[in-house]
Symmetry: C2
Amino acid sequence: MKEEDSFPICDKCAPESGSIFRYLNPAELELLNYRKDFRKFRRGSVLYREGSRISGFYCVHSGVIKVYKTGFDGKEQIIRFAKTGDIIAYRSVLSSEAACTTAKVIADSRVCFIPADILISFIKSNPVFAHELLKLACHELGEANTFITDIAQKTVRERLAEILLYLVRDFGLDDNDYLRISLTREEIANIIGTATESVIRLLSEFKNDGFVELQGRRIRILDTRALENISNLLV
Amino acid sequence: MKEEDSFPICDKCAPESGSIFRYLNPAELELLNYRKDFRKFRRGSVLYREGSRISGFYCVHSGVIKVYKTGFDGKEQIIRFAKTGDIIAYRSVLSSEAACTTAKVIADSRVCFIPADILISFIKSNPVFAHELLKLACHELGEANTFITDIAQKTVRERLAEILLYLVRDFGLDDNDYLRISLTREEIANIIGTATESVIRLLSEFKNDGFVELQGRRIRILDTRALENISNLLV
DNA sequence: CGGTACGTTGAGTCATATCAACCATAGTGG
DNA sequence: CCACTATGGTTGATATGACTCAACGTACCG
């Protein structure tokens, strides 16, 4: 059996990936392993679509998934990225609402699909798990609020610098200081809420100023300090 | 004892106001009534400030409170309003983070302050309550995501029309179709993320087009349909 | 080798921010 | 009672950041 085909066992992968399931007890983990469904998705495939009813949620084992909303004119607004250990679609499952986002694979992914009912049952049976899930949701809410403020008040230039720093924080840099996530210019634009051309212009401005280096889609971060200054990040 | 001074009992006011506490059992409600602290605040007073550690959260009995973040240049970004039955600051309590917002009274308010530990204990003892709290947080998260998309993609004009409709939905109209919430132009600007002058200009544009009528701070909604068209609201 | 998706650059336009001046109202204190 | 002040509202002029449109370059892929 090739490594890629190995079926992940959550009582092993949960603590390693730091996922929310590390708060489950052995019996619950066993149930999770029994009920979950392991799936693979290639770049570009869609896990679920805005407006659809979802019968469960996903835990990301590997890969990167973008979660976005589609605006009035069809333009996508990226809300967040999910990577190893993150769960997605839990919001819709818990609030009993239709999905308010679409999830599309950016880097080939392996995920577990978990039926909605056992999430609910874990909440009922395991108060610590419920509390941690609440912490997770509340933390995301805090981040959303910060993002609202930024997008409402900052210039595109400031937001671009900020997003680059967030990507460094969340995905890290390789040995040559290249960002470990590969996004199209359009995707970057759809995070910070601007036009693709604006991202291109500002990125090459950053390049000319010596803050970054560009090799096609790869972005090398040369001067974090300068980006921090531009972004006017509080904290 | 004047009506205004009467101490609200949550097992009465919770079901009436539709607050989250309607999911507590009698014993828990008794504990809540015993531990909570009833407080009154005048317009302009601050319940808690961004960055502070909070030892509990608030349930609004009457009045209106604005919850906002302060941006880099000191400009406030209003995140939401809390009115009768709403709870605020629960996010910070649950995520064990410092407050990421400030809460300031817009219309004289009566609130209950509830110590953090009993919120945690309710989550542990009452799975239904925990689930409902999760629903609440997840619902707010969904609204935040929608707002991010709007603010990133819509014009100021569209956002202004949209916010007027939201205010109608959340606060209603009186017998003469006046909005039941009174905001300064600056506050409206701080919701939709624009300059005060822009709000003034667009509002008087709406007035000239016959969509609204303006009497100082009071806004009369004349043509909901037109506002819906302008706002490009999905739904 | 054509096709498709992505990246880049330039030119022109427009929505919105900024700056400045002025008015209206209400509360305050002498 | 009247200046005095503070706060909020309004309007106009001006500046500019960012978007749109359009053309073209590049790279990979079947």
